[in-house]
Symmetry: C4
């Protein structure tokens, strides 16, 4: 799973890993410690199973050992462990012993385990002789119920929570920029293979740039349908690079050298439990492919009478004719010489490709420089998801 990432320089300067993990450290450790203590349960739920098991084993064993010591203490105070050397009779107070069947720490430990675990084999048991033993029994049962309650709760929460880092499976490896109905769009693909965010799904995309104060500052990118999606199929999320978009001024060349990060979150509810969760990923400028689009992976298969998703090509992209100038230049080229273009268009051949109209206009102004540069970054690698030879089925 991680082998694909090796093609990127080992450690990019990024806030999110591709699979949604944060690349952020909090310097001041004491504050973390406070939080650790405050959110003990969250730590238990988010931690690995082995860690959770260790914590619970320790708390179980600790309470067992502690109560065993208390049982022994009560028995000793009552004189239950002193026997007449000759007759073997108990020499302590009262009519009977506080507990039967336990004579050393090992015995009391077993009594403690059997009591708290509510097994109660019956070989060892407290009697009604000592009120303090009855009280200890009550206390241990209550403490035992609480520990068990916490354990049941944490196990349930761990079982139903989504896996920690699923960004890798949910989002396509790259963004692409291409023309869609004549508009420059930033596209990426999102899948429903993990169904944790299937209900009420919404995508949010933030472009994170350094502000003048040197602090990362997010700008929300406007998406089609405001980012609300029905995640019944893998979907292509589209951000139209219009005047309000912070990407409006970037040409292919400038983008390759840009210093920002695109943060993508998919939030939704699980169909099974209704729980809210989030998958995340991020795209660096070098992961945005200029002049590509995603390969169609959804087809209707008449033999099985069902739609099929070709998950192997989930990340696959294919080159399309795209101007490499910025969306701003493209708009200016399209609007300013309005009259000239209208004249020229009448003389043009009928347009059979949706992108040809704009490409032709821009061709004379912007040579296809940047696309080659961008492409060359990736062409060296033999990555199976990158299909350059797939024909466009337009």
């Amino acid at each position: 799973k991680n082998s694909n990432l090796n093609m990127l320089p080992k450690k990019s300067i990024r806030l999110y890993d591709k699979d949604g993990g944060k690349n952020i450290r909090v310097k001041n450790i004491s504050m973390r410690t406070i939080k650790f203590l405050k959110d003990f349960a969250t730590t238990l739920i988010e931690g690995r199973w082995r860690y959770t098991l260790a914590i619970f084993t320790v708390s179980f064993a600790g309470s067992w050992a502690g109560f065993a010591a208390l049982w022994q203490l009560i028995a000793q105070a009552h004189g239950d462990l002193e026997f007449d050397p000759l007759t073997g009779e108990r020499m302590g107070d009262g009519r009977a012993a506080c507990t039967r069947g336990a004579y050393d720490y090992a015995g009391f430990f077993l009594l403690s385990v059997e009591t708290q675990g509510t097994t109660g084999y019956g070989e060892k048991y407290p009697t009604e002789e000592c009120p303090e033993a009855v009280f200890l029994l009550m206390l241990q049962l209550i403490i035992g119920t609480i520990i068990e309650g916490a354990m049941v709760g944490v196990v349930y929460a761990k079982l139903t929570r989504p896996p920690r880092h699923t960004g890798d499976f949910v989002f396509s490896r790259n963004c692409v920029i291409c023309l869609r109905d004549g508009v420059v769009c930033l596209l990426f693909r999102i899948s429903n293979f993990a169904e944790h965010q299937e209900i009420n799904s919404r995508v949010e995309v933030y472009l994170c740039e350094k502000s003048t104060e040197g602090e990362p500052r997010d700008t929300k990118l406007k998406l089609e349908n405001d980012g609300q999606i029905t995640l019944y199929l893998p979907q292509i999320i589209s951000h139209a690079v219009t005047e309000e978009s912070p990407l409006f001024g970037y040409s292919a060349e400038e983008l390759a050298n840009a210093d920002f990060e695109i943060l993508v979150t998919l939030t939704g509810n699980s169909k099974a439990t209704g729980q809210t969760s989030q998958s995340r990923t991020s795209y660096l400028p070098k992961e945005i492919l200029w002049g590509y689009r995603f390969v169609n992976i959804i087809n209707y298969d008449h033999t099985i009478e069902s739609y099929t998703i070709d998950s192997v090509h989930f990340d696959a992209v294919v080159r399309v004719d795209t101007p490499t100038c910025s969306a701003r230049s493209l708009q200016e080229a399209a609007t300013v010489p309005q009259k000239d273009i209208r004249k020229r268009k009448k003389r043009q051949v009928p347009q059979d490709s949706f992108s040809s109209k704009y490409s032709l206009q821009v061709d004379m102004q912007v040579a296809e420089i940047a696309v080659k540069d961008v492409k060359s970054q990736f062409q060296a690698q033999s990555w199976d998801g990158f299909i350059d030879s797939v024909p466009i089925k337009s």
Copy 2:
């Protein structure tokens, strides 16, 4: 429940079944397997009860059998199972046996079951003689608590999750297109019989068409009140077919031959548990009835002093006078010959039906062809929800 669906050709090309199940397969199986393992709990919760029970039975039985073997191993290592043939005395190490009352695998199995289930009848029990037996007891109690915790959690989640496919009960069988206050509207009915989405309910409607790249692409349809509803009664959801609507250009005839799918989702929270869930359905073009409206099913019953919902007629529709041209043609007919119409209107009889105004204008342009075609698809069947003779109570 499914018998009504037989009237449709056996396998329509559709993404969602009428009851909300997906008609989609993921081709690459290995990826599914990964997901299966990752979301074990979701699989347990979403699976059928018999499947969940089988899994739990296997995990219980497996852990019992495994621990039984460990108990026996400990006893054997301690020599508890070797007896002097003459005296019948135990010949192993130590003062006493590690466990009492169990002498073969069946016995140790019973000990294991009694221990993990915390029954502890007491006929068989471990002693404080062997630390390894005490440790095994502790381990089994912890493992037992975890398995029980998982079971309690899964049972709780299964109990409170909504049934899997409820689209059939929640949404009307057909969409209709008719005039509402002079505007062409796409209507369908939504019920609150299942109260799983009663709180915070919102409806989303997507028209799913093949894009130029061949991939399904959703367009969200604008609804009255933005799709927010108070689902205290069955409601009629209305999409006004205005210029922004992708249905704007469809006439009744074109609609009958169109190739799209309308996906409807109802998302909301349960009143009982607050859980988020979703019901879904889809409408194919042939399930959209042009020139019909839904029969009123809500009336105030003075004898029981309460509103009543006539659930039998939930799907019932009735023919209304509707132009069969597209909403675009209707608008053009209404706007272009503005002056002519205004003249004509003065000469007209007073209008008593809200739809007559537009029908009259359009009558001369569009003959009622398509309605007959659409209707004929359904008239052959004797479906009790389809009432053609119910008079319009306008």
Copy 3:
């Protein structure tokens, strides 16, 4: 709590009761039955405690009795219940009996209870002699865990779900209509006494009128801040009666005779559990007081250095000077004779009350008829929440 409602005619034609319960019946019972079965858990969680307890008692007792019969069956098949009349020895198969200590149905019932409840006193217990008995023990432990899991889940869900009908405590008894900054507003008060919807609170108000098809149809009323509120204090929710409002055309007199229902929902999350829930109420036209406003109940108490809420006067209203014409007439009066008013205003005395400006303009046109009528409905009753003598602290 319900005695106040007696002042209204015994059974108003309304969809919601004042406390949020629905006054709606579904006619077709068979469909309800299906739903009952499908949503067994919801029924358990929403039902009364006594009902839930009864269900669980029955399922516990039933499973105990059933397993007791199985235990007895196994014992009989093994011949454990046949004894030699002379020696009293067991005459069945095998070395030993399947179960010890149980000899009649009462005994087996006790064994069943002890086993499933995991008490396991030890006087009665199964032996390793019969595999079928061991299997039955395993089965009963699993079934017992499932029933207990369901019980724990339902008890948890019942404990954390909000009380069923809280509308009475959450919403003020009446709506009022008065001028606020010169605009006609529909106001009602909402409290935070129950903290079930304190987080993420939003109010939605729907005006429910019969459509031309005879079916109730909701129109959402636009609220201040879009209905989003921070429910840290009782708040007054305000709907400005502007041109888009369906209340725009109603004068005080027309309102008294109107036939609609205002449905109010408050949705939010519990601070304690994060659970989503909803409180609801409804206002009939006769519960809308024209020309009143709510008495201020929030003050800063310097002695205890804290804000105080005077919950006794939560529903209290006080008369204010309000034109009784419709908001439409008011607007026309304010806009049409623009020049005249501007002239008149110069001659006017300085305005010290925020509502005097409009009142004066309208006084000559609309006499204060309707307010008297509306008031007379309520004046006859001695309702402690209705304070007419409280001075306006403006």
Copy 4:
């Protein structure tokens, strides 16, 4: 943690404490009592652990004691506690005693504890002799399961709910007002140290002022990106003080004497459990620092190849050049003498600071009075988070 707050006058008139606790009392106690009873579970979940433990201990002990009395009653009625003084034989009815091993209240209490806790040591146990004893056993097992279920549920809910008052850690201690891209902005910082609201995070800011009726009335302040944030890093939340903002008319001097409260809520879902929760704080006018901005605390550390958050300086602010007039005056100064400014600008030196443009224009009109006043409030205290000497890294 609370020592920092001492610098403020001991008891400010405020609705929220800095850590989100409410400074509000409901006067009418009887209503609170009703609520207490209605929301018993919420009270348990929200209360302190010691309180919850006490409640559970009492309910456990109470049920144990009650059932012990019932066991004894049954035994007495059956004559199990009457013995022949000579032979020591039981003199009651029937073949056998209802319960074995218990002869006084202490014994029955132990039987009750062992039964309800399902320990069942076996020394004391009911027999099949008395149907009433069997029934009592059944009843106690059911009641025990319910109490345990409630306990497990409450423990789970307590574990997973966010800590009660976290406002202190989540929000910066002060708001600041400064120019951002030439616009007057109200800024505060928000952290993700506690991850309770990390998913689906949204910030809402309300300005709470007394209305003319004397009641607090909230106005929602418009935020950047509508308050939706991705809380992966500490973020600076920005409210642009434009014409719609209620802060538009406040100058630095007026603000210092203003009487309002800014309520801030951060709502979101936990990454671990998906639970919705909210953190809150409030800012009084004297906590708004005019002419400061927050120190950047996020840097990329190349040695550890990760972003680092300098949590020590979370609250740290630094003075920046800011006009002290109101945003309204600033706008008027910028727009009215449009021509003059344009002329003057040509003669100006190149602007290297983003705020200099406006500062220069306003300098002649508003002297820097207010900033000194505001500052003096704080300068007396030696608060480590307040850094006045940190250089601006612009």
